[in-house]
């Protein structure tokens, strides 16, 4: 027992340092609630949940490239642009409703595949510098995108100047494009009250946990008793809270309704990511991500695998951007895509992911935590310093800081490890 104790202690210490970023974000949000008294919890939940439906899909599109060893793909901006091109085409011909939305998805897919292929090719040529290349490729693509929307539309492709989407002089697309009935087209299919959705989620998760423990007798649930009971308690607590709110019709019932289709799409993508990793292709992603040399000597076409990973990520980002914009209601033609890369990467990192490790769970948790910070920063700025703008600058600092810190820590650790294994004495110790 005495022998075990220091080990346990260091384990907890590791748990703490490994999850430093998520912990900071949770604390930050909690402090926000303490100091900013003007934020009702139901308002916070409404805001957070709608941000979650908008962003989760985009954040999830980052998981595959991380596993394939490409790092954090800031190049999802390219996918976002592909989605916006699709919207522009569909809106130009006034195709409305859910049919128009479906058409957007259909048009965005080949465009994103093409650009994803090119981006993947580029990443194969900039091996080892993928992350900075992906950042710059977003800027580069933005130039081409502007050329397309400000010049080609109007000068090369003739368009009527009286079209509501086109600028009054007949050249270029307007700064903002109204989405017509594409707006909320996914949400409008089916919406259920928030607490009912929570109730359903609580029942499903509790049922799933119990099934895993007692029917399937899954080893991990039996070994990690603490984790199992914590999860079970969480689900049951959620169950009780939702029943109470539904019964007493308290303020939690005013939280915005849940768009079932969007949530299902997010869940499906999570499932897809996890299932994909179990296939041959997924195994290839993993081995390429671990070592390109070993993967190559095992007969895996490394370059092709990396390109596929980028294509998947780009297409998913295009779809994610479609979900995002139909929820926003207007397409901010020249600005909607710019921050997507940064915010999504920051979200994933906040969830505890790193340059070489990311899971669906981290993406989901990260999206929630990051957006909590996003909502609370101006409130904290207002409450503590009397200036909401301060909170907004602080928020920007958090975005860049989190990315910089996570990347720096990762490289630093990797360098330290490689130095240790290069040292012959240490290597001998490790082997012997």
């Amino acid at each position: 027992m005495t022998k075990k104790n220091p080990l346990l202690k260091s384990q907890y210490k590791n748990l703490l340092t490994d999850n430093m970023v998520p912990i900071i974000f949770i604390l930050f949000t909690l402090i926000g609630f303490l100091v900013a008294k003007g934020v009702p919890f139901s308002f916070f939940l409404s805001d957070l949940s709608s941000r979650f439906y908008r962003n989760a899909f985009l954040v999830l599109s980052l998981v595959i490239p991380v596993i394939a060893g490409l790092g954090l793909n800031f190049g999802i901006v390219v996918g976002a642009m592909s989605g916006q091109i699709a919207i522009a085409i569909v809106r130009y011909f006034f195709i409305e409703g859910i049919g128009g939305m479906a058409l957007c998805f259909a048009i965005a897919t080949p465009i994103a595949t093409f650009f994803g292929y090119l981006t993947g090719k580029l990443f194969n040529k900039t091996r080892g510098q993928e992350m900075i290349a992906s950042l710059i490729v977003g800027f580069f693509a933005n130039g081409i995108y502007q050329f397309l929307f400000l010049f080609v539309v109007g000068v090369i492709i003739k368009v009527p100047a009286d079209h509501p989407m086109i600028k009054t002089d007949g050249v270029g697309i307007r700064m903002s494009v109204d989405m017509g009935t594409l707006k909320y087209s996914l949400e409008n299919i089916l919406e259920i009250p928030f607490m009912w959705a929570m109730l359903i989620i609580a029942v499903i998760s509790a049922g799933f946990l119990l099934y895993k423990r007692y029917v399937k007798k899954d080893a991990s649930t039996i070994e990690n008793k603490l984790g199992f009971y914590a999860k079970l308690t969480g689900s049951l607590a959620l169950l009780v809270i939702s029943i109470i709110s539904i019964a007493t019709n308290n303020s939690l019932m005013t939280v915005k309704k849940v768009p079932v289709v969007t949530v299902l799409l997010i869940a499906l993508l999570g499932l897809f990511n996890n299932l994909l990793l179990k296939t041959k292709l997924g195994q290839d992603f993993r081995s390429v991500g671990q070592s390109q040399h070993i993967a190559r000597s095992n007969g895996i076409d490394v370059d092709r695998t990396r390109i596929i990973a980028v294509i998947i990520s780009t297409v998913l980002a295009a779809w994610g951007q479609l979900i995002y914009i139909q929820n926003m209601g207007t397409l901010n033609t020249y600005g909607a895509h710019n921050v997507i890369g940064m915010f999504s990467v920051a979200s994933l990192l906040v969830g505890g992911a790193s340059v070489s490790k990311a899971t669906v769970g981290q993406a989901i948790v990260g999206t929630l935590l990051f957006n909590s910070m996003f909502i609370m920063s101006p409130e904290i700025g207002k409450a503590v310093f009397g200036q909401a703008i301060l909170g907004e600058y602080f928020r920007t600092f958090m975005v860049y800081g989190v990315i910089g810190l996570a990347l720096g820590m990762y490289v630093w650790n990797a360098n330290r490890k490689s130095r240790i294994t290069l040292d012959p004495d240490e290597a001998e110790k490790l082997v012997g």
């Binding site: 992350m131 710059i136 002089d169 050249v171 301060l390 600092f397 990347l407 720096g408 360098n415």
Partner: protein, 353 residues
């Protein structure tokens, strides 16, 4: 023998100029000719080009030490820029004006940039192999951190604050402190209608010569050797880590002084988000001048900043004339600037894990 060396020289010139430089140069020539054909005021264009050449020069020169030391282009240029901006606003707050302000800001900026550059160099040594990515985010983080500083700093000067509330303005006019174009105007003269900002160019060239001389000193050569072949340099007893720190201190100082020169020529000091993306045009300029992510010299800076700034000074009115109502030159800038950086990244070796 003479022929052989001639051929060698020709080859080495071609190699040192490189294809991207030639393409951009030809493109620039085409734009210049079309500007002439369109009847645009050429003297004004050339004056503008000269001014912007000098104005951006030091920021591009800041790339040389970091590239030579092997840490790649200094994507963290905003770090140095922030030091320079801090020095300017402190100078204004302390009541300096005119040349006094420039002098104070330069000295103060150098001191701050030395300390910050030292820390930044240490950081880069810890993250070898991913310097460029980390540098970019270091720059972004510092700019957003400084935004908080600009907003919270308790300065009293009426020339910098908002009319109501606390914090500094986004742009601070330098004519109110008598520093607007003060270096540009020094010995400035007109020739054939072209205005030559003598002081600005002199300062820029002086720094070019200083950097050129520095890389002929023992320390300079050691820095270069460490960047070119780290293993060999280490075997010959060169302390690479120390040299990388020195190179990045110099780079940070040049960034800090660069923004002072830039601001006085521009007439405004821009705070908050303005420095966020300033590293990329500077990186692109030196790459256009024929540098790579691992090789650069002062000649690359001179050629690159002239072509890059010249092209955009000239293409703006040309594009406006040809395609009225479109912002084609900004689009062009984005494509060329980021295209050249991407091209340079494809030339970086390694990373095959």
């Amino acid at each position: 023998m003479a022929e052989l060396t001639n051929g060698k020289i020709r080859n080495s010139i071609l190699k040192s100029i490189g294809l991207p430089t030639i393409i951009i140069a030809v493109f620039y020539a085409v734009v210049l000719v079309s500007a002439f054909m369109l009847g645009l005021p050429m003297t004004e264009l050339i004056s503008d080009t000269l001014r912007r050449f000098g104005m951006n020069g030091l920021l591009v020169l800041a790339m040389v030490p970091s590239i030579k030391s092997g840490t790649g282009p200094n994507f963290a240029l905003p770090v140095g820029i922030s030091c320079g901006l801090l020095a300017i606003v402190c100078g204004i707050e302390f009541g300096f004006e005119g040349f006094g302000l420039i002098l104070f800001a330069s000295v103060f900026a150098t001191i701050v940039a030395t300390i910050v550059g030292y820390l930044y160099g240490k950081l880069l040594n810890a993250v070898k192999g991913a310097e460029m990515t980390i540098a970019t985010y270091t720059g972004f983080s510092i700019v957003s951190l400084m935004s908080l500083v600009w907003l919270m700093v308790p300065f009293q000067s009426k020339k910098m604050g908002w009319l109501i509330g606390s914090g500094l303005r986004e742009t601070i006019q330098l004519d109110s402190v008598g520093a607007d174009g003060i270096i540009n105007e020094f010995l400035a003269f007109n020739i054939f209608g072209v205005k030559v900002p003598t002081g600005l160019l002199l300062v820029f060239f002086a720094f070019c010569i200083l950097i050129w001389l520095f890389f002929r000193t023992k320390t300079g050569i050691a820095i270069f050797a460490g960047g070119q072949n780290p293993k060999f340099a280490e075997a010959s007893g060169i302390d690479i880590d120390k040299n990388r720190v020195i190179a990045n201190i110099i780079s940070t100082i040049l960034g800090a002084l660069g923004i002072i020169l830039y601001s006085q020529s521009y007439g405004y000091t821009q705070l908050y988000a303005a420095p966020l993306n300033m590293a990329f045009p500077a990186v692109a300029a030196i790459l256009i001048g024929g540098a790579t992510a691992s090789k650069a010299n002062v000649i690359n800076v001179l050629i690159g900043v002239f072509l890059f700034q010249g092209l955009f000074t000239t293409s703006l009115p040309v594009a406006n004339q040809l395609f009225a109502g479109t912002d084609l030159s900004e689009t062009l800038r984005m494509v060329i600037q980021n295209g050249i950086i991407l091209y340079a990244l494809t030339q970086v070796k390694g990373g095959d894990r």
